[in-house]
Amino acid sequence: MADVTVPGRPPSRFPLRAQVGLGLAFVERQTNLWKRHWAWEVVWLFYGVVNTLAIGFIAKELGRDGVIAGQAARDLVLFLLIGTLVWAYLSAVLDDISLVVTWERWEGTIEHTLMAPVPRVAQLIGTAAFGVLHGLLRTALIMAMSLPFFDVDLAGANWGAAVAVVLVGSFSLLGLGILAGVLPLVYPERGEQLSFMVQAAVLLVSGVYYSVDTLPGVLRLASWLSPPTYLLRSVRAALIDGQGLAATAGDLAVLAGFAVALIPLSVAVFSAGERWAKRTGRLKRQG
């Protein structure tokens, strides 16, 4: 029996529907892996809750000791809680995207994945989509477990605007995560550490635990280049001050701009990194 009977040419490009299907394969794989590593998920959830509580209690103590008082004290608690929760989300997304290459190197599957006929954009967006869903779920659980410990007033919060900001901001995070993921691809032995350093730099300049106005000159400039700066500012404006989409439109536009620029840029950089890794023979198993 001969199966190979039809003359033709396999496609060089895939229609959008096929690319979505290929991307979903990565979402499904990451979901299966996540289920099998549930114990680690419990650890990170516990760590996230403890971290949120610990930072929230610092603000509470400042209020109790009279360093700040009244509404300012309540706002500080909320400011830090939002920073901690948004950072839990951001770091989960960045970790999920950037660690995929490292993980595939450990398992030795990286060559099989990269030789499959999958457009890189479908692979990376699929992986990132899982990161966003995973990050949202984990952060929602951390929030649900942490908030009862604090007397915060969210009656005036504009949840709709906050959700819109998080959704738009997530697209810019995809680009950032993919860029961080290039490092383990290009530097098999040090790439993972470097991607953690990138994450730490984002933490420093994005106003997670303080306003970016606090930052000195160069770091202040760097904060403008970090999408989480705008995401955090707008989420706080929506939840603490109750501002709507109109008030956060400027930041939303910047976040959308980052997404439009960073996603294609990061995919292009990843593809360039992949070509370099193939030229220098760095796609082998590691670990």
Partner: protein
Amino acid sequence: MSRSPSLLAPSRPVPRQRQPLAVRGLTKTFRRRKRQVRALRGVSFSVERGSVFGLIGANGSGKSTLIRTLCTLVLPDEGDVRVFGFDVVRESMPARQLINRVSVDPSFFGQLSALENLLFFGRVYGLTAGEIRRRAPEILDRLGLDRSHQRALVKELSRGQQQKIAVARAFLTSPVLMLLDEPTTGLDPRSKRDVQAFVREVQRDHDATIFLTTHDMAEAEALCDRIAFLVGGRIVAEGTPEELRRLVGRGRPLDTIDMEDVFMELTGRRVEEDEEEDEEVVDDG
């Protein structure tokens, strides 16, 4: 193992008139700090449709670099590789749809079951979840991996069982060109026989072309229509097993010469001997 024409999905369409694999002047050198390692030096050969082509070489001879280049994982310095006429560098996407590979190291997500792994690796070749769930157990059955092991986590399986899953992963996608990189190295005799029988069956029943690297001479003789010897990144001899025996026969009856003798006479070494990497120091200054 019984014959079943419906075991694999129909292969992807390919132009019938094109050669499955044509390699011309392939050269690859890796730079490692101040050293250069010459992995491939002007390798040329071609593989006919529906045949099994064997590449024999010691560890360090360049086999893995060659096979990685064929499956688009290493970019060559010079030369070109065409899979059914598609250049693996410039037209890698069409080429990748026609090939798959079994590597010496099975490489799976250890925390997933065999079927979950195959679900992912099948879907990235465009198969639907339904197709994979139907075909994967059939292929694994045929390879002798029982259903309980198919559902077990891969990390809990023996190397032989993992290698069977690796063979299933590759054949699940019905490649028209299959690259087998030492697929039976380290397997117990029974697993080795299962894998070899499956390879023969797929090649016979599904018009697949197979490129096999090995240092198992008996396996090469049993499976291959043509054999090439790779030494120091160069092909030093190529032919059918009988042609190669004739090269060194000098009047002896050919059935008294095994492929190990042929390799020894043509290369001056035993295939079990690891090759030193061919290095040279580079002055970057």
